[in-house]
């Protein structure tokens, strides 16, 4: 009886092992026949190529491992910005879809239908080659906010120059911990004594006040480096100083955000519509205000519907960021599975590492979102 249960499992396992074994053997045999060796030693050798945009210190004298890290961080950067922007925009557009105002409602649906139904790669090309290319050359760019320039070669903004940034950063962390415990205390107090503390105002003043204090007594200081134009030749210019955000990053973030927003907006709309009208009316009938109804009754229930499919969209956005290779944004695929693979010829190793990396990122996001989903799920008592 027990064997009958286990046998199919065992056979499946055996089948998987055999398939994997066959592919490994096959790869080994063919690589051996062509005099190729399998190994990760190349990661420690000098990369010898430069990368346009990097969050950490990097140049061609660093190793392939470092180049991998640069690519990974660039991928995470675009995914991080994209997810945050798409979530905010998605929430707004999703609510706008249900607006009683005809114009707002129709604009939101038009936006969703338009951007959702055009292939993402096409949108990336559009933003990079059509939209951003219409930007002015450096010497013709108007100054924005008295400090920045949006040009064909990217966005140039003032760069912050910190003294004792570590003190400032530690204080922010401390402020966040204090707020966390304060919020817990306030909730307990409300449950026990029915008194409500002004949590938001106190939290905000801690969050802003504590770091500000470091400027006065912690020796923290902040100054700005402004971009200054310099002529390189009769027709070309560059900016010295300041911070440069490459047009590739801007185009990719724009395209990913606008595309993913449509799906998140639909999730939000579905989530809100999924809550019965009775809930809203019942909440109103016990005297809750309009915003309390949304915050205390509708949203907690709607989130349970919204979160799982939105997790999928976060994963999609992260994986879609690999289309960066098309427009020269140096993400993991372009730097590592592109240049590094070509220079070393280690196709199997590098594709393996890249696949494992994306898998890890995706599983990490899923784990985080599942944890959040569990937290807001109905807790049966």
């Amino acid at each position: 009886m027990k064997l009958k249960k286990i046998l199919p499992q065992l056979l499946t396992l055996l089948f998987i092992v055999l398939v994997f074994g066959f592919f490994t053997m096959n790869a080994q045999e063919n690589m051996g026949a062509r005099g190729l060796e399998f190994g990760f030693g190349f990661l420690k050798t000098q990369a010898s190529f430069d990368i346009q945009f990097s969050l950490i210190d990097y140049d061609g004298s660093h190793t392939y491992a470092r180049a991998y890290l640069v690519g990974l961080l660039n991928t995470l950067l675009v995914a991080f910005i994209g997810i945050i922007l798409a979530t905010l925009l998605g929430a707004i557009v999703g609510v706008a879809r249900l607006s009683p105002n005809y114009l707002i409602r129709k604009t939101a649906s038009f936006y969703i239908e338009f951007f959702r139904n055009i292939p993402l790669l096409l949108q990336i090309f559009f933003w990079y080659f059509a939209a951003l290319r219409a930007l002015p050359m450096l010497e013709d760019a108007p100054m924005l906010l008295n400090s920045s320039f949006m040009t064909i070669k990217g966005l140039y903004t003032p760069a912050p120059i910190w003294t004792n940034f570590d003190v400032f950063f530690t204080t922010i962390i401390i402020a966040m911990i204090v707020i966390f415990f304060f919020a817990k205390y306030a909730k307990k107090k409300q449950e026990q004594e029915g008194k409500r503390l002004p949590v938001l105002i106190i939290s905000l003043s801690i969050f802003i006040g504590l770091p500000l204090l470091t400027f006065l007594i912690g020796g923290v200081d902040l100054s700005w480096s402004f971009p200054v134009i310099r002529q390189m030749s009769a027709s070309s210019y560059t900016f010295d100083g300041g911070l440069k955000i490459p047009p590739e990053l801007i185009a990719l973030t724009l395209a990913l955000t606008l595309y993913t927003t449509t799906f998140i907006a639909e999730n939000v709309r579905a989530g809100i519509q999924g809550i019965g009208k009775g809930q809203k009316e019942a909440a109103a009938s016990i005297g809750l205000t309009q915003s309390q109804v949304l915050k205390l009754v509708i949203m907690p229930q709607a989130l349970r519907i919204i979160i799982p499919p939105t997790t999928n969209q976060y994963l999609n956005l992260t994986k879609n960021s690999s289309l960066a290779a098309a427009i020269a944004y140096p993400d993991l695929v372009l730097v590592f599975a592109g240049t590094a693979m070509m220079q070393t010829g280690r196709a199997i190793e590098i594709v393996g590492i890249t696949m494992a990396t994306y898998l890890t990122i995706s599983l990490g996001i899923s784990l985080l979102m599942n944890w959040y989903n569990k937290r807001i799920a109905i807790q049966e008592k």
Binding site: K153, A326, P330
Partner: protein, 346 residues
């Protein structure tokens, strides 16, 4: 007794093997790649995704170019028809994997011969069909006429997965100039980005620059700077481990070059059969048994010359007449001051 018997059998075996090698040298020449090619009926050739002069497809899908002609020469030698080639367009990044995985049998895609590629990638370079070097293209209105006028902060557009990226770093580092590398996967996107003003300069092999310049909105607004910053010997590549196939590709290319050296062209090849010069007679197949050494028939080289032409004809047709590089420079026969010098076909 049995001990000796065992030794005797191994001796017989060894002799048999040696005998087999000496008498069946023709059969041994049948390399796996050659056998597969003859069975399929076409040569599988990896080319670029569109580089005028080297490998470019017209609207009807017909491939032409200097690199294309190498594959056509092999098809003429092996299958008797220069048109029996299946072309696979490859990006710089895909090319070696396509070759080592067996998707193609010849990679003829303006590929630079370097030590690390030759020794570490499981491939073998069989020769050089174009001597090139990396250069820079700039806008004429920039007033730049030499790389010595490059300044800190210059942005350079190029392709990923090429020696270009490495040379570029060496060059700017040695000059102490800070630069911004903008590397795309496909050549068309490099051209589009440079053309729109994203980059101050476009760097790749000079032949590539000359060819891509024709794709710009206004080709006359751009110029290639005179400096050459690297050696780029471009040539066909085959998979490691099939020495016979390697020889066939190498000597198909060499025949084209040597035919030009001896003045044999597609037009006069048949008349040359009566030539007094033994070197010419060997090339048109009236003397010697060169084909059999490669596992091919006697007319293999004659077919190359008649169907594809000699190197000079191919250069004229693809590179000179198209206005890409009318001056042959180093890509001329050694007797005319160029670098093309092949071992003798004998």
């Amino acid at each position: 007794m049995f001990k000796y018997l065992k030794q005797l059998t191994s001796l017989v075996a060894v002799v048999a093997v040696l005998f087999a090698f000496t008498t069946e040298s023709m059969a041994a020449k049948k390399s796996k790649t050659l056998k597969n090619t003859q069975k399929k009926g076409f040569v599988r050739c990896g080319v670029s995704q569109g580089l005028p002069g080297f490998s470019n497809a017209d609207a009807a899908g017909n491939w032409t170019g200097l690199d294309v002609d190498v594959c056509r020469a092999v098809a003429a030698a092996v299958l008797g028809d220069a048109n029996k080639v299946k072309f696979t367009p490859l990006s710089a990044k895909e090319r070696f994997t396509a070759l080592t995985s067996g998707e193609i049998d010849i990679l003829s895609r303006n590929t630079t011969w370097t030590l690390s590629r030759d020794a570490d990638l499981g491939v073998t370079f069989v020769g050089v069909n174009f001597y090139d070097g990396q250069g820079f293209m700039v806008r004429k209105d920039s007033g730049i006429t030499s790389t010595s006028q490059f300044k800190n902060g210059i942005s350079a557009c190029t392709n990923i997965g090429t020696t270009t990226e490495l040379n570029m770093r060496d060059f700017f580092n040695s000059k102490g100039i800070s630069y911004e590398p903008v590397a795309f996967e496909k050549a068309d996107e490099v051209v589009a980005a440079y053309d729109s003003g994203r980059c101050d300069t476009y760097t790749t092999d000079k032949s590539g620059l000359a060819a891509q310049r024709t794709k710009m909105t206004n080709p006359d607004d751009h110029m290639v700077l005179p400096e050459t910053i690297s050696k780029e010997p471009l040539g066909p590549v085959v998979r490691q481990g099939d020495a016979v196939w390697e020889d066939i590709v190498r000597w198909s290319l060499n025949v084209m070059i040597e035919a030009e050296e001896y003045g044999i062209s597609s037009g006069n090849a048949d008349m040359m059969k009566t030539s007094e010069n033994p070197a010419i007679k060997r090339l048109v197949g009236t003397e010697g048994e060169l084909g059999s050494y490669l596992g091919l028939d006697q007319d293999w080289s004659l077919r190359i010359i008649k169907q594809v032409g000699n190197y000079g004809e191919s250069y004229k047709r693809n590179i000179a007449d198209t206005g890409i590089l009318p001056d042959r420079g180093p890509n001329n026969i050694w007797t005319k001051g160029g670098l093309l010098y092949t071992p003798p076909a004998r």
